[in-house]
Symmetry: C2
Subunit: 470 residues, 2 copies
């Protein structure tokens, strides 16, 4: 780093800076000039110097170096410019994977099956040995929904060939070929912004406004009261209410002639405000899906990849048969979904179907996670973070509440959204990047190399900022 030669020297060994270094408020003058010159970049926070960014620290074009506890909306698994990933790019054996992007569904590279085994299949969720890669999170969920629809109709047809009427009516978007099937989703959910995904997203109006949608059932997601140990009975009742209403909706939509082919849910509603539910809730929900012949799709786009302390958040439920489909993207670097054998994917297709160069990176990321025991680190850092948040909400009772989390996948509520937004800006100007979610929450989404000492550093700065708002 040009500005901090000492830190750079240290980073040679540890591949991380030793702290933030702020030159200006953010966005700084240089970021602002670049933005003013451009009409093709709309919602930019600031411009980044990714060459100088390293480990947990994101450097901007004004030379500000910030501890990144948001990591590109939770999509940087092992920090910036990790040496293992840089090495991969410079390896001449990998050049061809970057330069020749194949139509993966028909003409895969020779090593693709091995690389799948080494990467995605080595972390396959319980009960699943098949995976389909995709280019992004939205495409992953869109195609997962299609797999559920196709499976549902295949069963209805008794696995026989589609009728002439099926084949002709579908060409003009009509039933029975394009059947009136539905996906059940939950209020507060976020599953992406393409038209199919958006019909199951219910986090913010601005995401959905003005876009045509489907008449699909939307169940309530439990609103838990915190601290959990004080509201055991109330929360159990709340979860029971939501499960009951879910089952009612499945029956109602079947009666309406729009049967529920699948249920989609996040293990923790992220964009919608870091809303948690108990393992018991998910276990019972999975049983309801099975009972009513609905496929059960767990969307791990934001929760997957290790930040809850397990590789998949749904592993915390402790089930052998947690889902029929698990979708992913973000920290996995490639989109895609795992599925059970029954959900035959032979009709899921597009030109690229992912990008094999991303699988190469994922192999290295998984190697680093294993070699450095990063899931244990996350559990340790997460415990320190959540305990720190508990302490802060006691210290600032009018300001903070509902500290919650799994691993470092944590959040806390602020008294109102305006104050939340001010706290985010003040914290950023002190060299720490955080993100908001839901109405008035702050979400913590560090990478997996976020250590206990990063937690303590963050808590100190956060404490200083909160004191200003007391």
């Amino acid at each position: 780093c040009r500005q901090v030669s000492k830190a750079a020297a240290k980073a040679e060994v540890e591949f991380d800076y030793d702290g933030p270094s702020m030159k200006t408020t953010v966005p700084g003058p240089r970021s602002q000039v670049i933005e003013q010159l451009n009409k093709n970049v709309a919602a930019v926070n600031f411009f980044c110097n990714y060459e100088e960014s390293r480990g947990n620290y994101l450097v901007d074009v004004d030379g500000n170096r910030m501890l990144d506890v948001y990591t590109q909306i939770s999509s940087i698994p092992i920090g910036y410019n990790h040496p293992a990933l840089l090495k991969l790019v410079t390896n001449p054996n990998n050049m061809s994977a970057f330069v020749n992007r194949p139509a993966l569904g028909i003409l895969p590279p020779e090593n693709f099956p091995d690389k799948l085994t080494e990467s995605l299949l080595s972390v396959a969720p319980s009960g699943m040995s098949r995976v389909q890669t995709m280019a992004c999170g939205s495409c992953s969920n869109e195609n997962a929904y299609k797999a559920m629809f196709i499976t549902y109709r295949n069963k209805e047809r008794g696995y026989s060939a589609p009728s002439v009427e099926d084949n002709t009516s579908c060409m003009i978007n009509q039933a029975p070929g394009c059947p009136d099937l539905s996906i059940l989703s939950f209020m507060g959910a976020f599953h992406g912004r393409t038209l199919g995904c958006l019909a199951t997203t219910h986090s913010k109006a601005i995401h959905k406004l003005d876009v045509p949608s489907f008449d699909w059932p939307i169940a309530p997601f439990p609103t838990l009261q915190y601290p959990l140990e004080e509201f055991v009975r109330e929360n159990a009742q709340e979860e029971a209410r939501c499960l009951e209403e879910t089952e009612d909706l499945i029956v109602k939509w079947r009666q309406k002639g729009k049967p529920v082919a699948g249920i989609v849910i996040e293990p923790i509603q992220a964009e919608g405000g870091d809303n948690h539910a108990s393992a018991d809730f998910f276990i019972k929900l999975r049983k309801i899906a099975t009972k009513h012949g609905c496929a059960f799709h767990v969307d791990e786009v934001q929760t997957g990849g290790g930040s809850t302390g397990k590789f998949w958040a749904h592993e915390h439920w402790g089930m052998d048969d947690p889902a029929d489909i698990v979708s992913f993207s973000k920290k996995l670097l490639t989109g895609g979904f795992y599925h059970k054998d029954e959900l035959q994917p032979y009709r899921i297709f597009n030109t690229w179907m992912g990008d094999p160069s991303k699988n190469l990176f994922l192999c290295e990321v998984l190697n680093v996670i294993r070699k450095e025991n990063l899931l244990d680190e996350v559990a340790r850092s997460g415990k320190a973070l959540l305990n720190g948040l508990y302490a802060l909400q006691v210290q600032y009772p009018g300001l903070l509440s509902r500290a919650r989390g799994q691993g470092t996948f944590c959040a806390i509520d602020v008294c109102d959204d305006a104050t939340r937004d001010k706290i985010l800006v003040r914290t950023r100007d002190k060299g720490i990047l955080l993100g908001g979610c839901g109405q008035q929450s702050i979400r913590f989404r560090p990478s997996l190399v976020f250590k206990e000492y990063h937690v303590h550093f963050f808590l100190n700065v956060f404490n200083d900022v909160l004191a200003e708002f007391k």
Copy 2:
């Protein structure tokens, strides 16, 4: 190349092999073994050795080297392992772009605006100076549709803020927040396979079957009779009929309470069978869109990038104001869409919004296209190809018909689909890769470095194959 040291030596200079070299039928034994071992790869043609592939030649794992006239479903712009692209990967200045994928909508790299100017904006369609990158073709069209819906409703609201009812109803997928708007598409069209795109795709039943859809209007696309010069009057009548029905559908859907917010069309229907229409048809259609307040979206995902002899196929229409939105992917290496200033994209967002490393490649591709005058080459090769196809359909009148094309973006019909498929396999075993499209067409989709001598070589082999089917 291990097998052909002489050819490899030549390729040092010309970066291309001097012809196919077949060791086995395709898929060869090694491809078959790899496929049998794997249940995660479904519709594979064969496995590839991308390291050994070069220029116009794709090499498979059995050492077969094939002249590629299909190029990964038309997505390889300047051949395999082009030296300019290899150099880019080995440039240390670019490493960070591969390793640190940003959330481009909020935290772009410093050079992103410049790279956009140098790449996508340097080839912006007439009347457009804004572009939004996306990860793939389907996402590009999905988000283009959203931009059209948002623009339509913004106009309806008189650009005032949405009502409370808008904001609450959209959260549960209901009007007025999620309005009953539609996109008009054409029979035979292909715009992608996610749920929004799929509602405008009408090429093959197997793409659409079992997936819920929208009640959106579908207009007839002209079915031209060939040779064009013999059916001038009939084809003009056919186009007039289609335009009239399009206008009727717009009125009808408005009356149904599902106004058409946008019209989407390919300049040449590719997947649907390489269906062409005249410039006059498109000019009149664009006027109908403007007259009825529908945005006009030209989908150049397959036609864009130079293979018609112009960078965009719609340039053949000769209009100053050809469209409101132009989407792209495939040969552009990144997905995305251009749009006019009026279609404000501030609400189009997702985590990745493309991949800046793909823009770096695109800069180099455009440099090569300019430096080597590849659009002129395409026009030259295309002329030779189309003339050759004309000659062959005269020679094999019972077998071939309807030779058609622009640049190298050519196609020809075979008497029936079974014969078409057999011809594709035979041609492949003789070292040339082609693709099918529509009911009984063969489509030609070489890269931009496909020269006249490649055309002549192809025509000779194709002639030999056709003679077997006479």
